[in-house]
Symmetry: C2
Subunit: 282 residues, 2 copies
């Protein structure tokens, strides 16, 4: 019997479990979480067959999925390296920065276990087991960072085929730069706008309510989990600061064009940004 061990039954972990259940109903799923309420819910809903904490039964699993925050994943990888795992086990994670995690997986990789980093590029500002749903990542990109050639990649794709994602194989550092640019910097930008707008209207908070759809759209991601985002800033700070500095440079250049009332440049920049952004909708 194929056994899947999943540690961390939040938004992502429970979404992966739902997809595995749908596609491979015969697989046995063991769930681990720090929250008893979450484990109770998972058992009641039939999401998992057995529940535990820490690495309970991880040594009996054919697939190990680490779906906690990056700091937990790093610790889990160290702990797994102290255990004798099932031969042929495939280990993966869902952390949003990859170099830190690949580094932590080195002892496992060196002794021959198969580790494939993973990261689904979608999500929700919601969190928790009840927010997970089988189509959460549908049609989104799901990064895979193989570390032992192509070993285990097709098995992992098959395990998670119920997600209906677009798989994208990539190196850790390139992944971390992409997410710094397309996910982490946008989060910083949106947070700064929300923070500064709230400060501007601190004595007239009702004025914030005048915000139209454009403001709400631009700041939407500031609603995400602050614990997760603080950790991301820690784990990917070198590349976040690098891409943020490039962003600041661009913003200063636009500020200069506004100050100088350089209509030609402003029109050119707005036009190109419009065209680039429209391309993302196709």
């Amino acid at each position: 019997m194929t056994t899947v061990f999943v540690k961390g039954l939040g938004l992502i972990g429970s979404t992966l479990i739902r997809a595995i259940r749908q596609k491979h109903p015969q697989y046995r799923i063991v769930g681990s979480d720090i929250s008893t309420a979450t484990l109770d819910f998972a058992i009641e809903q039939g999401l998992i067959d057995d529940a535990g904490t820490n690495l309970y039964q991880a040594d009996q699993a054919d697939f190990i999925i680490l779906a906690g925050p990056v700091s937990a994943i790093v610790k889990d990888l160290h702990d797994l390296a102290q255990l004798e795992l099932k031969p042929g086990v495939i280990i993966t994670d869902v952390g949003s920065t990859k170099q830190t995690i690949i580094d932590a997986a080195q002892p496992l990789i060196e002794r021959g276990d198969v580790f494939i980093g993973g990261h689904p590029m979608a999500g929700s500002h919601e969190s928790g087991i009840q927010a997970g749903r089988v189509d959460l990542f549908k049609d989104a990109y799901y990064f895979l960072i193989p570390t032992s050639g192509s070993k285990g990649v097709s098995e992992l794709k098959d395990l998670l085929s119920g997600l209906n994602v677009n798989w994208y194989l990539i190196h850790a550092r390139q992944h971390d730069k992409i997410v710094a640019q397309l996910s982490h910097v946008p989060h910083v930008i949106a947070t700064a706008l929300m923070t500064q707008s709230a400060a501007t209207f601190k004595d007239h908070r009702e004025l914030l309510k005048l915000a139209a759809g454009g403001f709400k759209s631009t700041t939407r991601i500031a609603k995400s989990d602050p614990t997760m985002w603080s950790a991301i800033m820690h784990n990917n700070r070198e590349l976040i600061v690098q891409q943020l500095d490039e962003y600041l440079y661009e913003l200063q250049s636009l500020r200069q064009a506004i100050t100088a009332d350089d209509q030609e440049k402003l029109f050119a920049v707005f036009s190109k940004a419009k065209a680039d952004r429209e391309e993302l909708d196709h």
Copy 2:
């Protein structure tokens, strides 16, 4: 018979006309636009009863609505001051910056015509007469900037009651600061992110496609009309630069916290921004 003159039959102008038609089907509506195709469409669809260019029949109107770009509105106000208008006429506009427009309306105001600046705080990244619809501004805020006490305000609200908006009376400069902060600065921020992201991946454009919903949401408003936005940068540049500088200060402060790995500060800022942003959804 009540006659309404509307100059500029694009997204906003045609939306206002649709709302007037619905609520006051007996009113006569005269439309003016630089595009013959737009006027033809408006006549065919029964949106207007008569069509012309420039200020055709504006001198016979009980309501004059200027719905072109700000530069056109400013010119129209100067031209209107050369005409003898109908006694009791109420003049309004829909421009997104108000001080420039109120300044241009001074000659009309000084001779006793009633001018009430207006600005609906919603919209669409679409444009043109076919994108207008009667519920476009439903439940959004619609600023009014009266310049002759309360004269004409209730008549104007009644004329546009089919929009079902929340009216918000305000002074021109306060209006311009609010829109600088909640609309214009966000547009600059989103444009800079789109521009710099496209530059980062200029040799691998397919990587931009990896952007998840958060990036798309943050940059959505960069899709808006570049001509309109270049003009807004001109018309409100003093307040845009002022609020943008405050934003840059906040962003630099967050950058510093990331560089210093100041987890306590990052968590505090992310938490407050999350709470502030969630308040906007209620």
